[in-house]
Amino acid sequence: MSLALGRAGVTLGFIAALWGVLSMLVGIATHNRRYLRVGLWCAAGVLGGAVLAVGAMEWALLTDDFTVSYVAEHSSTETPFPFDVATLWAALEGSILLWVLVLAGFIALTAHRFRHRIDDPLVGWAMVTLFVVATFFFFLVIGPAAPFGSFDPPLGYDGPGPNPLLQEHILMAFHPPMLYLGYVGFTVPFAFAIGALVTGRLGEGWLLETRRWTLVAWAFLTAGIILGAWWAYEVLGWGGYWGWDPVENASLLPWLTGTAYLHSVIVQERRGMLRVWNLSLLCATFALTILGTFITRSGVLESVHAFTTSNIGPALLAFFALIVVVSVGLIGWRGDLLRSTGSIESPMSREGSFLVNNVLFAALAFTVLLGTVFPLVVEAFTGDRISVGSPFFNRMSAPIGLALLVLMAIAPVLPWRRASGELLAHRLVWPAAAGTATLVLAVAVGARGVAPLVGFALGGFALGTAVRQLVLSVRRQGIGGLFGRSSGGMVVHIGVVFIAVALAASQAYVQQTELRLIEGQTATFDGHTFTYVGTNVVLEPNREVTQVLVEVDGAGPYAPGVSRFDFGSQQVGTPSVRVTPTVDIALSVLALPEAPGEPATIRVTVQPLIVWLWIGGGVMVVGTLMAMSGGGRRRRGAPSPEDVASTAPATQASGADD
């Protein structure tokens, strides 16, 4: 039943997507509105097919319908709710199916939003692009990564269940969907960029149309990455949150180019410049999501996230090549129309600083991409096997991160076109004072080392700048001044500062050790006492958790444990973390006592300011929402002469606000 419905769903979606491509193309070529309207219905068909397929899969997972191959291979009758629902994205085929659903949702939303303008060729070509992408992904779930294979379960068959690591924490139910909403969300601005290139309407209109989509995608991607880091910290038990694993890098790459785009697009809107660059960034962002999927899902790179080796690699690589060829070809073809119409007079200007920002983000993206694929390239050319791991990425990204903090501290106060040193010295006095105060505070509480201290000082400086801009905005416009793009952007900056400071502190001052304790014994590490007070066994339907109860500084007990799942011999650690605003103490069990009275080995990780990573991520998402709301944005979305006249004095005011 589920099998038939699921197959019907993917088939329906594939046909609708393909039909959408053809119908839109015919409609654009013949200017026949009827074909274009069919295209809109195809969008509904794509969504219907995807919903049917995912619904059938979820039903099969919930009812343990082992006639569906994906359920037989990745689910089990004992997988508890909500992990049976989340099993959809616990393996390759299901995760592509989730991708299809998210993509179908975005296509349907786009079709709905632009249904009255479907005879606009720019919208038409954007829809063509979206349908092409959808056709490709439906092809994947029909062919190379089919979740709806048939399986004939023997009597009493039970599946192995999803990877135990994925059943440990509720965050697993949110992190992948968030990430996919971000990845796939960038398809919409990409489609409009292609539409603009094909129609030659390379003005700023298409940017304004897709601004909100880009922000939504960016917010989801940000949330997805942060939730992934949180999950790693809560589940993997090594006390870390970011391992520069290929899959993590693959999610970071489009985030970096997307962030660069969100900044440089402002220059294009204001000055009509950087058109080639912005189009390239959008195309690169989308291409990197596909490349990332290829790198991580084709088995070419080892990764903790890698699913079993599959044969979707060639298809993804071919699709990536197609995107690159089409993007580069179109941008080259339209080169004459993309000529920029202005000049940037001074690096000490808002637009100049956005350029520097883009250079830094591009450099960071290049470094991360290089480090990720470097072992592959070296092995392909020389046969040598080398590894590029976190020490490389940490060392290379730290200076770029500091440079970005400098930029965040200075750039928001820069006026357009040109700034004098005196103006800067005046506007930056209070932010710099905040930075100095942060530095003094950090030294006073005992922080040592030049690099982290510089990080803290710059963090305080950038925080001061963001707060200054928000205060000025509120003074000018009241509480409504907190909304709109620039203020929302400043809130995002505050979140970034939290994360930057937390990164600097945790990287510089992490302390880790292994303690061997027998019951009743107390050990001291890094000023904290750890007492092993006992053992506890928790029986759950699908696993048995043996907990080592540890009191930290007399409080607790905290209960890190080891889970034994019924299926497979893998034992999975379940860390326990004492969270405070200033310092986290993470405990995980390395070895249970072999017999009563024998010692247990626990790993202790003491890391300052970790909680600010998650708070910073939340602030970034809230800031993005604030950037999406507010009058300023909408006014610019549909500019009228009056609006232009009314924003100009406001700009002048902000240029001479003090």
Binding site: E302, S343, A362, H426
Partner: protein, 175 residues
């Protein structure tokens, strides 16, 4: 900071707070860097070493992060070698020798040979970008053309479907 110019219209010269802050920053950084040049303790060395050596059985994790038994063995072994007085280089060389785990045991690629490219290329890229940006600013400044031509204005206006943004406060800030 470029705050050396004084502002005659203000009671407090603008450079003063900056000078004071600069002094505080220098002192604070000096205080904050006292004692960081002491040689690392054995525990710190073990921590750094285990983070730079790849777990041979898992995917891309260091032995510090991994919980599989071979990683635990390596952690213990590294701690022993540090206690015995081996240097970091000796320990890394041991693990990356072909008879043990091979060169890919190191998570930090070697700085010489092909592996060095991964360190050099990003620096080259940033340097090239900086040069390109500087040249672009030079060219823009030399061209002296601060306003778009009428033709450009028409294009922009057409694209934006609004009157040209001549109300930009461009004239105000110019010398």
């Amino acid at each position: 900071m470029s705050a050396s110019r004084t502002s005659t219209s203000r009671p407090i010269p603008l450079w003063l707070p900056w000078a004071i802050m600069a002094a505080i920053v220098v002192v604070a950084l000096a205080v904050g860097s006292v004692g960081i040049n002491e040689p690392p303790t054995n525990a710190e060395r073990v921590q750094n070493l285990t983070r730079s050596i790849r777990c041979p059985q898992c995917a891309g994790q260091s032995v510090a992060e991994s919980d599989v038994s071979v990683s635990r063995e390596i952690r213990r072994d590294i701690a022993q070698r540090v206690e015995q007085g081996q240097t970091d280089e000796e320990i890394r060389a041991y693990y990356s020798s072909d008879t043990v785990y091979g060169p890919d045991a190191l998570l930090t690629p070697p700085a010489d040979g092909v592996g060095g490219l991964v360190w050099v290329l990003p620096v080259v890229a940033i340097a090239l970008a900086a040069v390109g940006l500087t040249l672009a600013f030079r060219r823009w400044a030399a061209s002296g053309r601060r306003d778009a031509t009428d033709e450009d204005r028409a294009l922009v206006a057409e694209a934006l479907d609004v009157p040209d943004g001549g109300t930009e406060p461009g004239g105000a800030g110019r010398p």
